[in-house]
Amino acid sequence: MSHIPEDSLDSGAGLPFLQVRNLRVHFPTDDGVVKSVDDLSFSVERGKTLGIVGESGSGKSVTSLSIMGLHKEGAARISGEILLDGRNLVGMDREKVRLLRGKRMAMIFQDPLSAMHPYYTVGAQIVEAYRVHNKVAKQVARKHAIDLLARVGIPNPKSRVDDYPHQFSGGMRQRAMIAMALSCDPELLIADEPTTALDVTVQAQILDLIRDLQQEFDSAVVLITHDLGVVAELADDIMVMYAGRAVEHSTATDIFNSPQHPYTWGLLGSMPRLDRERSERLQPIKGTPPSLINVPDGCPFNPRCAYAGRNGDLSFTERPEFRDIGGGHHIACHLPTEDRHHIWDEEIRPKL
C-alpha cells in the first residue's frame, strides 16, 4: 500500500532529506478520534521545494507540526515514519527531537506578529535561537543576528536588531522570522502559510526571499499554503491534501497544466492570478470541509464534488485509491481518465 512516488520525484540525488511514510496523526477527544492526518506519504530532497496545498483543516499544518515534534506530549497518537536524513523522528526521545528542532529543521509561521514574543527584541529572539544550539558568546550571537537580518534584507540591521517586533512592519517581521529560522542553517525549512498575513506586494518579496535563501543554503523546503498562487512561484512539487489525506501529488508543472482531481480544479478556480484581471470572479469550492471525526464514506470529497455521481455509487461507497496515473502523477479519484481529461479541457480550463 505504499504510494511513494520516489522513483519519479527523486531525480537521482541519493536519499531524500525528508521522507514521510504512512503518517497518521490522530487526536482522541471526548467526541471521538479526530483523524487529522491519515496515511500520508511524501518526501523532499535538499534544494527542492514541496508545496502542500489544501483548505484549513485538511491536515497540512498538523503534518508540519508532527515533523517538528511540536504536538503536546500524549495529546496526539502518531504512527508511521518521519525520516529526517534517515533517522525516524516518530517515537524518538523528545529531548533528541528538541535538539534537532531549530538546528536541522526550522519553521516559519503564518502570523509573524503573534509568532514572535512581544516582550523581547527581534535580536534577542534570534540570538536565543542561535545560542540554544551553538555555544557562543552573546556578542558573537548578536553579530550573527545582525548578519542574518542583513541577509534577509532588513535595512540598517545594526539598529533594528534592538527593535521589538511591534516596531517592524509586517513584511519586515516575516523577514526577521525567516532570519530566526535560518539562524542555525537548517537543512529542512517548513514555511507554514508564510505570506498569508501579508500584503500582496510584500508576499512576492517574501517568496522571492525564500527562494533565494533556499538556493543559497541548499535546504529542503516544505511550503504549506491554502493558496496555489504561492506555490506556483516556488514549488518543484505540489501535494494537494483533503481531509487528512493526499488527493493529488505531482510536479508543479503537472498540477498547473493538467490537474486531474476535481478538488485541485476547485483550488485552481479560486486562485487569484497575478497575470490576469482581478475583476474576474473567484470560484470558491462549494460547501465546507468535512468533519475529521466522521469522514464521509467513499471519496471524502464526494459531498462537494460536482462529478461524484458520474460513476454510479462508487464515489459514495468506496474510498478511491491514491494511485500513479503516469509519470509520477498521483491522484485519488474514481473518475475515468477520459472524463477527467474531458472535464478539464472543456469545462474547467476555459474558465480559469
Partner: protein, 340 residues
C-alpha cells in the same frame, strides 16, 4: 524618551495631588455632613469626646477647642493649612507648634498624627512587603504548575485549596494559627511582637512570619488562580510554539516565554494590592495585634478620632496612587509595546 517619562510622572503626580484633596475633602465631609443631616449640632459632636459626667460648659469648651463652631469649609481649610504651614496646638500650660506637614492632633490622645503615622508605616510596610513576596512566589509557582498540569490531581487539589484560601476569614486563620503555632507548639512569635528591621532583621522576620503566611495565604490563593488562567492563555499563544520550534528547553519556554507573558496582568493587580495593603492591613493587623496603619485607622474610626482617620486616609490614598503610578511605569518596562 526620558523627558516624556518625566513629564508623564509629573502629570500623574499632579493628578494624584488633586485626588488626595478630593479624598480628604470627602472623608472630612462624611465626618461632619452626615451627622449634620441627622440634626447634630457642634455640641452633640463634642459629646463624643467628653467624659460621661460632663456638664454643658465642658461640652461647649470641647466643641470650641476642636473648632466645631467654625463652618465645615473653614475647618477643612485649617486642616489643609496645617499640612503646608503647620499649626499651633494649645495643650494647656503652653502652646506647641506642630511643624508642617501637620496632620493635626488626635481628638482623644492629643498626640500629633504625623509622627504617629511615621511610627506605624514601617510595621505595615514590613507586613505588606513580606507577605507580598511570599504570595507572589507561592502564587506564581502553584499557578504555573497547575496550568502546566491542567486537569491532574495536583491542579485540582491546588485550585481547591486556593478556593478555600480565598474564602477563609483572616481573623479565623490568624487566631487559629497563633494558637497552634505560637502557644501550643512555640514555633512562632506571639501576637503583637514586632522588631524593627534595622534593629534585628532575624527577629523582624521571625516575629512577622506568621502574619506574613496568614496574609499571603489569602492572596497567594488568588494569585495562583490568576497565574493559572494567565498561563493557560499564554501557553496557547503562537510565540510559545515559536519558542519550542527554536528547540528551547521546556523550562525556558515556560518561564522565559510563558510566565513572562502571563505576568503583565498579574503585575497590575499586584501593584494595586500592595498599594492598598500599605494603607493598612486592617484585619491582619488586628488579628496579630500589630500596631500598623490599619490598626490606627480602626482606632480612629471607633473613637470618632477625625485627625487620625484623615491621616490614614490620605496616606492610604497616596500609597494607592503611587502604586498605580509604579505599576504603569513597570508596565512599560515589562511590555515594550506600551512604550511609545
Amino acid at each position: 524618551m526620558p523627558a516624556t517619562v518625566i513629564a508623564y510622572i509629573i502629570r500623574r503626580l499632579f493628578a494624584a495631588i488633586v485626588l488626595l484633596f478630593v479624598v480628604s475633602a470627602v472623608t472630612f465631609s462624611i465626618f461632619f455632613v452626615t451627622p449634620k443631616l441627622l440634626g447634630a449640632t457642634p455640641e452633640t459632636l463634642a459629646t463624643r469626646y467628653v467624659g460621661r459626667t460632663s456638664t454643658p460648659d465642658t461640652i461647649r469648651a470641647t466643641a470650641e477647642k476642636l473648632g466645631f463652631y467654625d463652618p465645615v469649609v473653614v475647618q477643612y481649610w485649617n486642616w489643609v493649612k496645617g499640612i503646608f504651614v503647620g499649626a499651633d496646638y494649645d495643650y494647656g500650660p503652653a502652646v506647641e507648634h506642630c511643624p508642617a506637614p501637620c496632620l493635626g492632633y488626635s481628638f482623644r490622645t492629643n498626640q500629633p498624627v504625623w509622627p504617629d503615622l511615621l511610627d506605624r508605616i514601617p510595621v505595615t510596610l514590613s507586613l505588606a512587603v513580606g507577605a507580598a513576596v511570599l504570595w507572589l512566589l507561592a502564587g506564581l509557582a502553584v499557578g504555573t504548575l497547575s496550568a502546566l498540569r491542567k486537569g491532574t490531581i495536583f491542579d485540582r487539589v491546588a485550585m481547591g485549596v486556593s478556593l478555600a484560601g480565598v474564602s477563609l476569614p483572616i481573623f479565623f486563620t490568624g487566631l487559629l494559627s497563633l494558637s497552634v503555632f505560637s502557644y501550643n507548639l512555640g514555633w512562632t512569635a506571639v501576637g503583637g511582637a514586632y522588631t524593627p528591621f534595622l534593629e534585628n532583621p532575624g527577629e523582624w522576620a521571625y516575629n512577622l512570619l506568621l502574619p506574613w503566611i496568614t496574609l499571603a495565604l489569602l492572596f497567594s490563593a488568588q494569585y495562583a488562580r490568576l497565574t493559572r488562567a494567565g498561563m493557560l492563555e499564554t501557553m496557547n499563544e503562537d510565540f510559545i510554539r515559536t519558542a519550542r520550534a527554536k528547540g528551547l528547553p521546556e523550562r525556558t519556554v515556560v518561564v522565559r516565554h510563558g510566565l513572562r507573558g502571563a505576568l503583565t496582568p498579574i503585575l497590575t493587580i499586584f501593584g494595586l494590592d500592595v498599594g492598598l495593603l500599605l494603607g493598612g492591613a486592617i484585619l491582619t493587623e488586628s488579628a496579630f495585634s500589630l500596631q500598623g496603619l490599619g490598626k490606627y485607622a480602626i482606632e480612629g474610626i471607633l473613637n470618632y478620632d477625625l485627625p487620625k482617620v484623615m491621616g490614614v486616609t490620605i496616606l492610604a490614598a497616596f500609597f494607592v496612587v503611587v502604586a498605580n503610578l509604579i505599576v504603569d511605569l513597570l508596565y512599560a518596562v515589562v511590555d515594550p509595546r506600551v512604550r511609545k
